[in-house]
């Protein structure tokens, strides 16, 4: 395990979801699922986050917010799209104000399906994301070393 994956901190943003997935994300913090077991802290601050958990399909207003938050996170960072809405837009994809999945705005590393995504699924997704995080960190390090 790399350094990052031992202490991944989350940033959760609701990009126009129905709350279903959000409360399940929050539920992961609570005693039954307690993702702090993995060293995960739910921080509200993009500057300190490693994993961006997004729920809901993106609409015209949240698009900017999502991009902004993503840009304020330091590398290495991964994006996890939680819920069908975040994956594809789900039942709302035909709405006039929905862009579709999160991947229409920023690159997504892990998709967690489910409506609402179950806490177990979210945990699985985060665990998957950790692997991606480690990979990214490895990539981040190598070019630097080559330069020297």
């Amino acid at each position: 395990m790399g350094k990052v994956s031992k202490s991944p901190w989350l940033l959760h943003y609701d990009a126009s979801s129905c709350n279903g997935c959000d409360i399940e994300v929050l539920d992961c913090l609570t005693p039954k699922y307690d993702i702090e077991r993995f060293g995960i802290i739910n921080t509200g601050d993009p500057f300190q986050a490693d994993i961006l958990l997004i729920t809901g399909g993106v609409n015209s207003q949240t698009e900017r917010v999502v991009k902004q938050l993503y840009s304020q996170m330091p590398e290495p960072k991964v994006v996890v799209a939680v819920g069908i809405c975040a994956c594809t837009g789900g039942v709302f994809k035909e709405c006039y104000n929905i862009r579709g999945g999160i991947d229409t705005v920023i690159p997504v590393d892990v998709y967690v399906p489910g409506c609402a995504a179950r806490p177990e699924a979210i945990i699985d997704g985060v665990v998957k994301a950790l692997a991606v995080l480690d990979e990214k960190q490895a990539v981040m390090k190598t070019p630097e070393e080559k330069e020297r």
Partner: protein, 127 residues
């Protein structure tokens, strides 16, 4: 009104300290789900008549039925597990079952081909 108290929760906190945590062991131990869990849709492809009712009833358009090719495709990352298709299917060949679709780095869909040409096949396609 009631008396105001301080440290109201202290007793509970101290007791909790010596209780077993309510935390499940997931993912190190598998979770068990109730019978009715709407986890994912399974198709008994052999019984399917490609009528397309499920496709039309699906609120998120996750199912594509191709009558000519005899295929039944579900986009797992589009299915909201509502069970509408299960109710709609006249042949009752769709089932809502336990267990959810694994999270993944790419969005997958699954295609089932009717077993006339070849035996019940499951081909995975990514999309």
């Amino acid at each position: 009104m009631d008396k105001i108290r301080a440290f109201t929760l202290a007793g509970r906190m101290l007791k909790n300290l010596f209780r077993r945590p309510a935390t499940t062991q997931y993912p190190f131990e598998p979770a068990d789900y109730p019978e009715r869990m709407r986890g994912h849709v399974r198709i008994e492809i052999g019984d399917c008549i490609s009528c397309g009712l499920c496709m039309r009833s699906c609120p998120s358009g996750a199912i594509v039925v191709d009558r000519k090719a005899g295929t039944w495709t579900i986009d797992r990352f589009d299915c909201v597990q509502c069970g509408s298709c299960v109710t709609a299917c006249p042949k009752k060949c769709l089932f809502m079952e336990k267990g959810y679709t694994e999270p993944d780095g790419v969005k997958k869909s699954e295609t089932f081909v009717k077993p006339q040409e070849e035996p019940a096949g499951k081909t995975k396609k990514t999309g």
